[in-house]
């Protein structure tokens, strides 16, 4: 099967900055593919290369096996949902949605009909005559989605589409986007800096850092088997031991990661747990999150690690507060070995 999108050794340089640095990957048709990374990691640059707003300095971008490196955006069968939605302020909602067919020469009755269908699809059937400025953020987001989908693209690009929405609306839209993608069966490429969003929606996630892909894997694998310390920290908020710290704890310089929920906290005065790896330190903060608490412990080696403790365990640790000396312990198999 031909990949929906393929990058072959793609680089894009702005001045001294390698925004995209020799990146290669392939996205399967119908896949929900997330590009995850902090700002400036190259994920949005990659999206722009797929959309055609930018061309690579080196390498090739292929859409369905065709090299499109020099094809302008208006000749690509790809549509984008922009971070700021980019709705045309001088057009009504219906005119916005009908814009794609309009510039492709579809007659006005047909395109109005199709635009109405698309608005129904995103549950905005009644808002067609309003202006974008009269809509809420969530509604604008849906208009942007309807406008991008009306051309029936093979690939839909989403650039942090939920970034401007509040938490509750964001979670609703995540579910809705995912089910929409399943129903339409088109390829979604989803750019986000929110690892929760990427993990919960995507079939596969590419984690970007400094213009390169650190790891490309399914969400579960990314979370349980992070390949690098960057992925361990960014995706799982895991505790990472590299170099001297790894040496001090395990006796080997091989870096490793332990997720906060795998760490137990013990009073230093209590007998040390048997058969587990141990690191000693001092509690510097306790954040209460309801079902669990996050304990920040400054290890004697200097790093601050965090342990996620259930409410039940917290109760048994009654009396421990900021400043108390503790031991952290974890089962040997919970440590994930990282590439150095």
């Amino acid at each position: 099967m031909t990949a929906a999108i393929e990058f072959r050794g793609v680089s894009r340089v702005f001045g001294d900055v390698r925004a995209v640095d020799d990146v290669s990957f392939a996205i399967e048709p119908g896949e929900f593919f997330a590009m995850l990374g902090p700002s400036g990691s190259g994920k949005t640059s990659c999206l722009r290369l797929v959309a055609g707003f930018d061309s690579p300095d080196r390498g090739q971008v292929l859409l369905e096996g065709q090299d499109v490196s020099s094809v302008p955006p208006y000749e690509r069968n790809v549509n984008t949902v922009f971070q700021d939605y980019a709705l045309f302020p001088h057009m009504t909602v219906l005119e916005n949605v009908a814009y794609g067919p309009r510039v492709r020469g579809v007659d006005s009755a047909t395109r109005a009909q199709r635009a109405r269908e698309m608005l129904d699809l995103v549950q905005l059937g009644a808002q067609g005559e309003r202006r974008p400025a009269q809509l809420s953020g969530g509604q604008r987001q849906r208009v942007a989605l309807a406008r991008a989908l009306i051309n029936q693209p093979k690939v839909l690009l989403l650039d942090e589409p939920l970034g401007a929405l509040d938490l509750k609306l964001r979670e609703e839209m995540q579910i809705e986007l995912k089910s929409l993608q399943r129903r339409l069966g088109i390829t979604f490429v989803y750019v986000t800096h929110d690892q929760g969003e990427a993990l919960s929606m995507a079939d596969r996630v590419a984690v970007f850092n400094k213009g390169k892909i650190e790891q490309l894997a399914a969400p579960r694998e990314l979370y349980t088997r992070p390949g690098t310390s960057f992925v361990a920290r960014f995706v799982g908020s895991a505790n990472v031991a590299d170099g001297p710290l790894a040496q001090a704890i395990s006796g080997s310089a091989q870096p490793f990661a332990i997720r906060a929920e795998n760490i137990a906290v013990h009073l230093e005065s209590a007998p040390p747990p048997v058969g587990e790896t141990i690191a000693a330190g001092q509690v510097v903060a306790v954040q209460y999150h309801g079902a669990a608490s996050r304990w920040q412990v400054k290890l004697d080696a200097g790093e601050v690690w965090s342990a996620l403790i259930t409410e039940e365990e917290s109760r048994s640790l009654n009396g421990i507060g900021v400043g108390t000396r503790v031991r952290l312990s974890w089962p040997r198999e919970a440590a994930v070995t990282l590439r150095s």
Binding site: T80, Y99, R102
Partner: protein, 303 residues
């Protein structure tokens, strides 16, 4: 009262603070500016006694009747209006590519260079520029000389033979006056247009291309409609400045009167203040008509 107590006083009473800020400029605006304007308008409802040449201070529409019924006066209004429309259209056409480049493509030093370049002529005396243009456009001027060297004298002669707008030389024809007007008011069109285009987010243009619009379609469907508020603002400048100007028509161009010259002559040598006032109402009315047409076409919807 100490400064501190005064600060607290105004901080606790925001309306007093607002009043302190606004009263002096509003007094100026209300009395000196609007007051004199209304005094002028009131003058237009008087008329001059034809025998004594004295102003009769009784409300009458006689002056306006004189304005709209005497063919010479109507000619002046039509001539000025025609020039203002032509100048506005020409300014808009010339300014659009320049403003687009300044707002969308120029970066850093290039952008500063363009903004300074557009405003630089405004740092020079208006009169100096008008007289300089008269020399440039004269029969033996540099423009005629360059055209002659290029063997294009026939082109200039053909243009000057055009009925109505031609004349013996550029400096004594409406074509020459038009060139000077466009030169003078172009910055007033470029700057608001560039400001309007600067406010258009780049993502709108990308979205248009993304949805399948070729650059020409994006320009027509997105850039142009969003530049319209800027064009409207700029055209109010070019239109009203042309309607009111009296120096350019008296230094460059054919001998026919323009509204501004008529106001100057009537209130000065002729001493007919009511007619001068009535003539100065004409641009105000024309601008109102222009703005309501612009509004109907949605020029201000995106504001």
């Amino acid at each position: 009262m100490t400064l501190r107590a005064a600060s607290t006083f105004f901080y606790r009473r925001p309306y007093w603070y607002l009043a302190l800020l606004l009263v002096p400029p509003l007094l100026w605006f209300g009395t000196v500016y609007l007051g004199s304007l209304f005094a002028l308008l009131a003058q237009s409802f008087y008329a001059i006694d034809e025998f004594t040449a004295q102003i009769v201070r009784e409300p009458t529409l006689a002056t306006y009747k004189q304005l709209v019924t005497q063919p010479a006066n109507v000619d002046i209004v039509v001539r000025t209006l025609g020039m203002a429309i032509a100048v506005t259209i020409a300014c808009a056409i010339i300014a659009l590519p320049i403003a687009t480049y300044m707002a969308r493509y120029a970066r850093g030093r290039m952008k500063a260079f363009f903004y300074v370049g557009v405003m630089l002529p405004m740092w020079t005396s208006y009169l100096v520029k008008v007289y300089a243009w008269r020399l440039l456009l004269a029969k033996e001027g540099i423009i005629a000389w360059v055209l002659g060297k290029l063997g294009l004298m026939g082109l200039l002669d053909a243009a000057l033979e055009a009925p109505g707008i031609g004349g013996p030389s550029l400096s004594s024809s409406y074509i020459g006056m038009f060139i000077v007007f466009v030169y003078m008011w172009l910055p007033f069109m470029i700057l608001p247009m560039a400001a309007a285009l600067e406010r258009v987010p780049g993502s709108l243009l990308q979205a248009s291309a993304d949805l399948g619009a070729r650059p020409a379609q994006t320009f027509r469907n997105v850039v142009l409609p969003l530049a319209v508020p800027g064009i409207a603002a700029g055209s109010v400048f070019t239109f009203s400045l042309t309607l009111g100007d009296y120096i350019i028509p008296s230094v460059v161009g054919a001998p026919g009167y323009f509204i501004g010259m008529m106001v100057y002559v009537q209130q000065g040598t002729a001493g007919n203040i009511p007619l001068a006032a009535a003539f100065s109402v004409v641009p105000i009315v024309l601008i109102f008509i222009y703005l309501s047409i612009a509004k109907r076409f949605g020029a201000f919807d995106a504001l």
